[in-house]
């Protein structure tokens, strides 16, 4: 599907979502409450068939967190970027590890570095940091007086 066709079809699956102008790929802002059904639709709707999650990350905007998912379809060759705004104090979002297996480790990484809690994740533990680590080091307000030299 072309970018315009995607832009016409996707709001039906996630009402109230908006699109961002510019960028190499189509950027879509989705509400967190719709994500469980919408992620399912992205994978299992035949005309969309987003079968490859090639990037999963999180951005700290100081006022809120944003989950960013990059999808592509190996059959249709179209791309999509989904952004979900999260509350900074209690960030919670539905896990997509059951739909795209690659998300399991990526979500564990986001969990330890940003403190996002993924609902229904099969094994939400720290991935790289030591088990007794406290705090979320990739958040902008992270402080570590021993190891960090502030500029």
């Amino acid at each position: 599907m072309t970018r315009e066709e995607l832009q016409a079809q996707l709001p039906e699956l996630a009402p109230g979502s908006t699109f961002e102008e510019g960028g190499e790929w189509l950027n879509m802002n989705v509400d967190v409450s719709l994500w469980k059904n919408f992620s399912h639709a992205l994978k299992f709707t035949l005309s969309l068939d987003f079968d490859y999650l090639f990037c999963l990350t999180c951005v700290d905007w100081k006022t809120h967190l944003t989950m960013v998912y990059h999808f592509t379809s190996t059959t249709h060759r179209h791309h999509l970027v989904v952004k979900i705004k999260l509350d900074r104090t209690t960030p919670q979002v539905e896990s997509v590890a059951e739909i795209w297996r690659t998300a399991e480790f990526h979500e564990r990484e986001v969990f330890e570095l940003f403190g996002v809690e993924f609902i229904n994740h099969p094994d939400l533990r720290k991935l790289i940091l030591p088990d007794d680590w406290e705090g979320f080091p990739l958040r902008k307000d992270y402080e570590d007086p021993i190891n960090m030299i502030k500029l």
């Binding site: 790289i128 030591p130 080091p137 992270y142 570590d144 190891n147 960090m148 030299i149 502030k150 500029l151």
Partner: protein, 182 residues
């Protein structure tokens, strides 16, 4: 100072005076150091992008085997020199220390690139990076660059060879120093 008042027992054999007899020993040291410096086996140790330059230095175009570095070893027990090619993070630091401890004496260390010398681009605002590998193990030669070019690495290796040919290991230098009294 205590001076032993007892004179040593006379040597039981014949003493043949040889003028300049110490020459043989010092020449032997030079031969050993020459041999050591021309057969330095590096440890296969690369933690980030400097390792790519290190591989390039090992490959045909730059070919560090011209200087006796070709036998890269994957075990520290057979290696003479460890080239810290890359960032050392807090989780890697105990591993690096252990690798260094497992190497046989005499052992040498080259800190390659900005990360290994000072933390480099990760000096500020980083929770995970050791600010210089010399916080963990002693370093003989530092190389600037991010990453350094293969020529710089070869230059560092030649510098290390010259250092070895000059004579003393780090431990020997430490032992030759007169003990400070307080």
């Amino acid at each position: 100072m205590d001076v032993n008042p007892k004179a040593p027992a006379p040597f039981p054999g014949d003493v043949i005076p040889t003028p300049g007899g110490g020459i043989l020993v010092s020449k032997m040291d030079q031969v050993i150091n020459w041999a050591r410096s021309n057969s330095l086996w590096p440890l296969v140790f690369g933690t980030s992008c400097c390792a790519i330059e290190m591989m390039s230095t090992a490959s045909a175009k730059y070919d560090w085997s011209r200087f006796g570095f070709e036998v890269a070893r994957a075990t520290p027990r057979q290696a003479d020199v460890i080239i810290i090619a890359g960032t050392i993070v807090n989780k890697m630091a105990p591993v690096l220390k252990r690798l260094y401890d497992q190497m046989a004496e005499p052992k040498y260390v080259i800190a390659m690139g900005a990360c290994a010398t000072s933390g480099g681009p990760f000096f500020y605002n980083t929770y995970s990076v050791v600010k210089g590998a010399d916080h963990v193990i002693p370093v003989d030669v530092y190389i600037a660059g991010c990453p350094p070019r293969p020529e710089a690495l070869i230059h560092a290796m030649i510098s290390l060879q010259e250092k070895i040919k000059l004579g003393l290991t780090r431990e020997q230098i430490r032992m030759e120093k007169p003990e400070q009294s307080f």
